[in-house]
């Protein structure tokens, strides 16, 4: 199971807890995790990435294993610790606005 931590406002929308778990077939990539997340919680479509282009929204960041993965290619494999469920993928609303 893949573990994903989502930010406060998206938990409210999804009516979920802080951490959600997803079944994702290998290879476990950012795109595959987001596909699974949006399939489980359709209300989140468009809130993390553009509905059509799947481009990450400007003020969303992805972190895992102490690394900023925001600029990684969506189809690049996520760290093995995420793929095995040892570590969560964190979806974070960026600090912005001063």
């Amino acid at each position: 199971m893949i573990r994903v931590i989502i930010p406060h406002h998206l938990r409210t929308l999804a009516n979920s807890g802080k951490e959600v778990t997803l079944e994702v077939a290998a290879p476990v990539t950012q795109a595959a995790v987001l596909d699974a997340l949006e399939a489980k919680y359709p209300v989140l479509r468009g809130t993390i990435r553009d509905r059509a282009t799947h481009k990450r929204r400007a003020l969303i960041r992805f972190f895992a294993c102490g690394q900023d993965l925001s600029h990684e290619a969506p189809d690049a494999p996520l760290p093995a610790e995420v793929a095995t469920g040892k570590e969560p993928l964190m979806i974070v609303g960026a600090m912005a606005g001063g």
């Binding site: 930010p7 406060h8 406002h9 998206l10 929308l13 209300v43 468009g46 809130t47 993390i48 509905r51 059509a52 929204r57 400007a58 003020l59 969303i60 609303g93 960026a94 912005a96």
Partner: protein, 371 residues
């Protein structure tokens, strides 16, 4: 006994204020959608318990929420606002062409007769419509074909912020866009024409016949007289007696003719209200005095309404969608400020009192009069 429900959109959530027809004691519900910007929420005239809300943030984008119980519970519906065909380009601040990009929904205008039909005015400016209660939205693309390449954003973005549906003819719709102008359709959105003749903007638009580029802030109509329109423009308060074909100025003795909202009394088609703001570079009331101005003659002669409103050291603004009336026998008038106050008058504006004083900045105010 009748009651009123005031729907307030703010920078950090929605609030619902309810009272009986006395309008002295108020219940405050909220924040709904806490932390989100609620640009607008409005009820269906055909089913007052059906409400729609435009919910957004810069982080997570746009959602549309729907309630079927008067705002007690909500469910997210569709929020896919994809422009029809190739989005095209409009004029940017520097005069270059800039691709159309959806930013947010500014306004939701439910159909007078069908609770499932709603129009949405969006930024970058376009008009969308749903026929299934908000599950899916389709653009009415002919609007952007009216010289869309010349449309340019105002300081607040290029937003379609005003939608007026003729109560006698649902195919006749007026929209206003900052800073493109005003437009009218007679065929339900299949074709549009500019409705700006007579508007003046001598500095920005030296061509007196310019159809595009007018910074219209809001337009109001009384349902009994849909050919008469009142407009608060960036500068100038204007009136049209022929459904927007021609406009003439009615600013008269206003202390400033800059402002954002304009509304019409619910029972007196020639009684109108504005909130003068000092200037486009100083968005607060002249002299630090929050004054609503009322004309009972359809313009030109205005009186200041001050009783119960702060008359010193007041530097709030009243945004374009943040003023509304109820339809009780003694017409109630309501407005919200960027300082978080919502003021109400139960006597057509003669006296005012705050319903709430400390909300987040108010973006919109709508009122439902319930049987």
């Amino acid at each position: 006994m009748s009651s009123v429900r005031v729907l307030v959109g703010t920078r950090k959530g929605a609030f619902i204020l309810t009272s009986n027809e006395e309008r002295q004691q108020w219940d405050v519900s909220g924040p709904h959608f806490a932390g989100w910007e609620i640009y607008h929420l409005k009820g269906s005239p055909a089913n007052p318990d059906r409400l729609y809300a435009a919910q957004s943030t810069g982080w997570f984008g746009q959602l549309i929420q729907r309630s079927d119980d008067g705002g007690k519970t909500w469910e997210p519906v569709g929020a896919d606002f994809t422009y029809d065909g190739a989005p095209g380009a409009h004029q940017w601040y520097d005069g270059t062409q800039h691709p159309w990009e959806f930013q947010r929904v500014w306004l939701l205008e439910p159909s007078p007769t069908d609770p499932d039909t709603v129009y949405a005015g969006v930024e970058d400016a376009a008009l969308f419509r749903t026929h299934d209660g908000g599950k899916s939205w389709q653009e009415l693309p002919a609007l952007r074909a009216i010289k869309g390449e010349l449309w340019a954003p105002g300081a607040g973005g290029m937003c379609l912020h005003t939608i007026l549906i003729d109560p006698n003819d649902a195919n006749r719709i007026f929209v206003a866009i900052s800073a493109a102008g005003a437009f009218r359709t007679e065929d339900g959105g299949q074709t549009w024409r500019p409705a700006t003749h007579g508007l003046k903007a001598n500095w920005e638009l030296p061509d007196p016949d310019a159809e595009i580029g007018h910074c219209v802030h809001s337009i109001a109509m009384h349902p009994s007289r849909p050919n008469v329109l009142f407009m608060q423009k960036h500068w100038d308060v204007m009136r049209s007696d022929d459904a927007g074909d021609n406009w003439y100025e009615i600013s008269g003795n206003l202390p400033s003719d800059f402002g954002f909202p304009i509304i019409v009394h619910s029972h007196e088609p020639d009684t109108i209200y504005v909130v003068p703001i000092k200037s486009d570079s100083e968005h607060y009331p002249p002299d630090g005095k929050l004054r609503v101005y009322r004309s009972r003659s359809g313009g030109n002669e205005w009186e200041a309404l001050t009783e119960g409103l702060p008359q010193s050291d007041c530097y709030v603004n009243v945004l374009r969608s943040a003023m509304a009336v109820d339809t009780l026998d003694s017409c109630g008038v309501y407005f919200g400020t960027t300082g978080g106050q919502v003021y109400a008058s139960a006597d057509s504006g003669d006296t005012w009192a705050p319903i709430v004083r400390d909300l987040p900045a108010v973006l919109s105010v709508e009122v439902q009069t319930l049987p």
